[in-house]
Subunit: 457 residues, 2 copies
């Protein structure tokens, strides 16, 4: 039996054990954006470092950054074979609204074919599957290529320290390509490889019209209401055709030629299926583009949160002093996030009524990126997927953002293979996030084939 087959057999025997160990990792509430979870971030990093040691990795280290640490480990015992830098993140999003979860967000409850937990899909489940593939190959006696791990803890807050970390550790991280497990496929029966990602620019806006909250009867009708100011600003950010109105917003957007429109169309979900995944009743977006194009190839600007005035139970007749919004843009190549910020400032400055104090705070950003669909690594990933899933992958453009892809391209000069098995309806970032277990187990096998293939090639 080949090493590959021995590893596959081992992985199948280990399914229950792998699931039990996965639940341990899911139980750590590693929410990077909430400071009270600092100790959990450390626990998650230590848990992963112990696991890397258990897999026989050398030079395992929880490396400090200006924020949450990066877990590093390496196995460089295959001279001549390629070296992959495996990227993942062990941090997760907050879990609110908590009352909409049907089971403990950190319980990892299995219901039907799914395991439910924050991070199950995004993306503890993805890098854990890769680790279990490596474990199977190591158990089978031969890890076929060289590996380096860079598992960060700040992806969900925009990876503020990662570029600096990569810059400071260029030699340590040198590799032939990046294996980024923070990825997904279209459906269990239509596997795909993402070759394009949107970028992100995320902002917080505050508008203030008075020093303090006022009585809506005593002052209402005579001074500005900040909720109205903010509503007008948000309403004006799109025209009637769903196009973003920031000055110059589309100037640098790379268009789609007929070949790419065709590739996008091949991987597109039927509209009805898309609506069902979204749990929505109506499609809405930029005029002149299909849903798949709106997601994969067109930028957005939208409010992720809004708050101001009285939001409690009952009625309070307040004319608030302040209102706030979180606003973010999903960007496509070749939009420049810094230019987007300037455009947003310009828009706000052009449309802000007199007498309003306002502040725009930038949280995080990264450009979009597009990868070479024809590299040998991409081809090995395609072959591995075809072996496990029984059909060649679709090449897809993804609406989400993985800024590290652009960073590694810029700083290390290497391309990335996005190989992960999340599904579009996993509910990531929302309540009842889940991972489809057949994909989890198939993912482990796909990683085994991918690594084996590269070792042979």
């Amino acid at each position: 039996m080949s090493t590959r087959d021995t590893a596959l057999t081992f992985a199948r025997k280990q399914r229950d054990a792998n699931l039990a160990q996965f639940r341990e990792l899911l139980a750590i509430p590693s929410i990077s954006t909430l400071s009270e979870h600092q100790p959990d971030m450390k626990r998650a990093a230590d848990w992963i470092a112990a696991e890397l040691k258990h897999l026989g990795m050398d030079a395992v280290e929880v490396m400090p950054t200006g924020g949450h640490p990066v877990v590093y480990g390496e196995s460089l015992n295959k001279p001549g074979a390629p070296t992959a830098l495996v990227y993942g993140h062990y941090d997760v999003q907050p879990v609110d609204p908590l009352d909409e979860w049907e089971s403990d967000p950190f319980g990892g409850e299995v219901r039907g074919d799914y395991i439910y937990a924050r991070g199950a899909s995004d993306m503890k489940g993805q890098f854990f599957a890769q680790l279990k593939a490596v474990e199977a190959l190591v158990q089978a006696g031969d890890l076929p290529i060289n590996l380096k791990y860079m598992l960060e803890g700040e992806e969900e807050i925009g990876s503020p320290h990662l570029a600096g970390f990569i810059e400071a550790n260029k030699e340590k991280l040198a590799c032939d390509f990046v294996l980024n497990c923070d990825a997904g496929v279209h459906s269990p029966t239509a596997p795909g490889i993402t070759y394009s990602l949107r970028g992100l620019a995320y902002f917080e806006l505050k508008v203030q019209t008075a020093k303090k909250d006022l009585h809506s009867g005593r002052f209402g009708g005579s001074v500005l209401n900040p909720i109205h100011v903010l509503s007008n600003l948000i309403a004006g950010m799109h025209d009637a055709e769903g196009r973003v109105t920031l000055p110059g917003f589309y100037d640098k957007v790379r268009g789609l030629d007929d070949e790419e429109r065709d590739i996008v169309a091949q991987a597109a979900f039927p509209d009805g299926e898309w609506l069902e995944m979204a749990g929505a009743k109506a499609l809405f977006g930029e005029a002149g583009y299909t849903t798949a194009e709106r997601i994969g190839a067109r930028p957005t600007l939208e409010a992720n949160g809004i708050w101001g005035g009285f939001t409690g139970e009952g009625a309070k007749t307040v004319l608030p002093a302040k209102a706030h919004a979180k606003i973010s843009a999903r960007l496509v190549a070749d939009q420049d996030p810094q230019e987007i910020e300037q455009q947003l400032r310009q828009y706000l400055s052009d449309h802000m009524p007199a007498g309003v104090d306002w502040e725009l705070h930038e949280h995080s950003w990264g450009p979009g990126s597009t990868m070479n669909r024809k590299s040998p690594y991409m081809q090995a990933a395609a072959t591995a997927i075809e072996t496990v899933f029984g059909k060649p992958p679709l090449f897809t453009r993804e609406g989400g953002s993985v800024p590290v892809v652009g960073m590694l391209q810029t700083i290390l000069g290497v391309d990335t293979i996005m190989l992960g098995f999340a599904l579009p309806d996993d509910g990531i970032h929302g309540p009842n996030e889940r991972q489809y277990l057949p994909n989890f187990f198939n993912g482990i096998e796909t990683y085994i084939h991918f690594l084996s293939q590269l070792g042979e090639g």
Copy 2:
């Protein structure tokens, strides 16, 4: 020395004692809208009942309603003298945002000429001053008129049970006129009497575009964002001239003739002073009206609160499923609150995009009202004010709502005298609510003169 003068002397000697006792009442956090304060509501009612007994009132009773109780008490020992029904409310607004208070909202800290507490001005301070005037007259040996007290605990939640209570107790509450202490004056040097009040219709709107929160990268740009839907709806509620766009909103609004525009103008604050009281930098309102007219004689529609999506610390790339707003209209005679609800539903229905689930919930309402400036009770109040403040009062239109005025007019057929001493910059409903102490003490004396005058007349 006359009874009146003895009472005035007593009231002046009692200032420190009155302030200390006032602080006891302020210390009870009687927030009617928050269910966890239910026991405090009971405590406040019991405290007032004990005080009424101490003043020698008969038939003192904490009377149950479908919600918080009404405190009743009476003194009917002056046959031939008029009977006043004294109205007040012992409930207060919530105190959020708590971190903007400079001292404990229930501490009653005195800083300079002010006492700071939730309810200091709205309106424990007003009815407490009236009680202390009665105490002084009783101590002086003669309460000159008949009194009945109706002190409710649900004014800040729209008095949902008060109309039923008045209806059920029509005989008990029968009176010649109502003395409503929930009132204010323009400034310490420009005392006034409110003869017109705005009504209120208060709503909560929820819009929902998806079953659950979505990832803004994966779905952003392809389905509706409920914050955008809500922003568009709020933005569209006013035209460029600041006029409300609900269909038929202004149809029944009673216009101002030249005499009333003149009365409004006489009592108007200079714009600069108004801005300073509001803590705002710019005036804004319906085109074609002065600030005083916008407040006193024109209706409004505005958002009192808004919330949806991620509102925590940091960045969360969520495309929310729901967004909410509290929206209220201040109404003037002869607008009908039920018609306003129909107009709002019509507007929402006309402007709601396809595929949005929405709900409009009505919290509370009451019509506006206008009182007779020339009644003997109004004239007695004017004389009392002139005696204490040294100048005749301005007759003013108030922007706030006191729905009980309309209720009592409809059910008991009696007119109301609004006599209270709150100031426009007391910060009611907001953080650091305060009462101006010279007005508090002058208020006690004005009530002594008013009651004495009516007893003599």
